[in-house]
């Protein structure tokens, strides 16, 4: 087929315009589609979601494992074989390393040896959302620190920013290491950061976070701005602590360690 230079340029030009218009349309459509999203009727709402973990009610190893498994199973959290690649949304750590600086040599052994349940604190003043260069991690109006796996560029600035080690990076493709994938929740690819989301997808359907549901009342979830909420009433009755409060991040996860019964 013969084609002179002029014809080639004309065709090439038209093709470029066509691609441009098509691309712009797709872009506009995507915008419209996202603005059509509306909350469902059964959605749980709050001004400021928060969690209280009453560690006195966690007695056996099984109590911990039950809530951890509930979370990791429904969110397709992989079990990576190499500890360097570990991904965890909710896990346990001892008192000394959960609350560095608050340890003294004379704390009762039952507290020293007590596993503490750790997860993202959904800080009011979150350093991770402050440092993210693409708003892939961001604060929702209800206080939840959300994570967009499809926008994250994998720079890991948020991991450097988080003072609580709550964030995990997919160093390798996690898909192979998810035993029983839950099709209801997105599977992550390699190269993005993930963490606990306070089960935003469950709140949308009117359900409380999976860990809370499986905790048999040891974990409470509610609105911190509502003085009559379960969490507020519980916090008013029990002495609670938060991790690294001195950093001013204002964590929304409160711990009741125990001990006041002896006072």
């Amino acid at each position: 087929m013969g084609m002179d230079r002029r014809e080639f340029l004309r065709l090439a030009g038209l093709t470029c315009i066509g691609i441009g218009v098509g691309g712009a349309q797709l872009f506009v459509r995507a915008r419209i589609a996202s603005s059509e999203f509306a909350p469902t009727d059964e959605r749980l709402n709050a001004e400021r979601w928060a969690m209280v973990i009453d560690l006195r009610k966690f007695r056996t190893e099984e109590d911990y494992q039950r809530v951890i498994d509930a979370c990791h199973r429904i969110h397709n959290v992989p079990k990576m074989p190499d500890p360097e690649d570990e991904i965890k949304w909710i896990w346990t750590e001892d008192f000394e390393h959960s609350f560095p600086g608050q340890m003294n040599p004379y704390v009762p052994p039952e507290i020293e040896e007590k596993p503490i349940l750790l997860l993202c604190n959904h800080c009011t003043n979150a350093p991770c959302t402050r440092v993210c260069p693409t708003k892939a991690t961001f604060k929702r109006p209800d206080g939840i620190t959300a994570q967009d796996y499809h926008r994250c560029i994998g720079c890991r600035f948020c991991m450097a920013g988080c003072p609580y080690g709550a964030r995990s990076f997919n160093w390798r493709d996690p898909k192979k290491f998810v035993k029983d994938p839950n099709p209801e929740y997105p599977m992550r690819g390699p190269g993005v950061v993930e963490k606990c989301t306070f089960c935003v997808e469950r709140l949308e359907k009117g359900k409380r976070p999976a860990c809370v549901e499986k905790s048999n009342g040891a974990m409470l979830f509610g609105d911190l701005n509502d003085p009559n909420s379960e969490v507020r009433r519980y916090l008013a009755e029990h002495f609670s602590i938060r991790r690294k409060p001195e950093l001013g991040t204002q964590p929304a996860v409160f711990y009741i360690i125990g001990g006041e019964d002896h006072v």
Binding site: G101, P133, T134, K135, C152, C155, G161, R172
Partner: protein, 390 residues
């Protein structure tokens, strides 16, 4: 003017092909990383930045080579630096190119990198770093290329270049400040949470950049017919001396604050780096070598005869460079992550693929540098260099 880079001696082409070979090896390994993920590096959940970000941080400093020559030449009318100002600017071009590449190879999802522009986020320091680094790259390419081209044509440089040169001075300060801000504003990283970090970045940049420039100037003199000049090299040596002393002084300030206050969180990273913590001390030898080289180089630089003697000066400049490479390219980043936020020690060491990719990026930088320097030298060889008022 670019055609000057296409003809050269056998040695020039050998260098080009060796560099291309290293780049190729790095590129193939990068494809491997792209396929498997960043898991092929030594980084982990606990030490989530490593060699790549360390190199990026160190090379932002090397880019300061330009400004330390530009200030005396353009602001203080120190005409002698006219011979080497272009070498400083082109070294900055090569260094910033490497910086951007190191950020790129560190990305988990590099194909999404334009999200930084598509969703600009001014509260993120990384956004500003991308802005100042690409701006500095552009400034140095424009300034270097246009002034050299004017020299080639035997004409004065275009007038519009002057404001850009003046802008490039505070701009150079900004790249170090913003890069330091990436680290020094994070609430949970005690090692980085220090107001002197940006100042120390500047001091170490003003010593490592000119130190490399000094070594390159000596190489240029040995292997080409263009002589950057003995007095010029001595002036750069004095700049390195002052900056290195200030840098070491700032380091001592850090040590005092941490050592005298004895706040555990602040003390632990220093303990880990210099003495080892909980039986882990992989970085201890490197950190001591860095300190010893710093002291050794300062002694050589301060004593006038060893500074004037070009052999001992070469040793001193190489020591400065290596000392700061270990300090900023390695210790600074790892110290921020060890111990981790739980005060537990998990160590980091780069893997072989990670090292090959790192060498590949360095080779890209040296390729850019070689080609640009080749053009400079060929232009100077063909038209000769005259000191002109600017």
């Amino acid at each position: 003017m670019f055609e000057k880079a296409l003809v050269g001696s056998k040695r020039y082409w050998t260098l080009i092909f060796v560099l291309l070979g290293i780049i190729f090896a790095g590129f193939i390994t990068y494809l491997f990383q792209l396929k498997i993920g960043l898991g092929i590096t030594g980084m982990s959940r606990d030490v989530s930045w490593g060699l790549y970000i360390g190199q990026f941080t160190f090379l932002v400093g090397v880019a300061a080579s330009a400004v330390m020559i530009v200030i005396p030449y353009y602001l203080h009318n120190y005409k002698k630096f006219g011979r080497i100002v272009i070498l400083g600017e082109f070294l900055a071009v090569a260094a910033v190119t490497m910086c951007l590449l190191f950020i790129f190879v560190d990305m988990g999802q590099p194909m999404r990198i334009f999200n930084v522009i598509l969703h600009p986020t001014p509260r993120s320091i990384l956004f500003w770093d991308a802005v100042v680094l690409s701006g500095y790259l552009l400034l140095n390419i424009l300034i270097g290329w246009n002034t050299l081209h004017a020299e080639y044509k035997g004409a004065p440089p275009p007038k519009w270049i002057k404001p850009l040169i003046y802008i490039s001075i505070p701009w150079a300060i900004s790249i170090h400040t913003v890069t330091a801000f990436i680290y020094q504003g994070l609430p949970g990283r005690h090692f980085w949470l220090t107001a002197i970090m940006a100042a120390r970045f500047l001091a170490s940049a003003f010593s490592s950049g000119p130190a490399l420039l000094l070594l390159l100037a000596l190489l240029v003199r040995r292997y080409t017919s263009f002589d950057p000049g003995r007095e010029q090299i001595q002036s750069v040596a004095k700049i390195v001396t002052y900056a290195m002393i200030v840098n070491f002084f700032f380091f001592l300030l850090e040590l005092f604050t941490v050592g005298y206050s004895q706040i555990p969180g602040h003390l632990h990273p220093f303990k880990y780096l210099f003495f080892g913590l909980e039986g882990h001390g992989r970085l201890v030898p490197l950190m001591w070598i860095s300190v010893l080289l710093a002291v050794f180089s300062i002694i050589l630089l301060v004593i006038p005869p060893t500074r004037r003697n070009e052999t001992t000066l070469t040793v001193a400049a190489a020591s400065v460079f290596l000392s700061l490479w270990l300090d900023k390219g390695f210790g600074l980043i790892i110290g921020g992550f060890v111990p981790n936020p739980f005060e537990r020690v998990f160590e980091y060491w780069p893997t072989l693929p990670e090292t090959i990719i790192t060498l590949g990026v360095w080779a890209v930088g040296f390729l850019v540098l070689t080609v640009l320097y080749k053009i400079v030298i060929s232009v100077r060889e063909s038209v000769g260099y005259e000191e002109v008022a600017h």
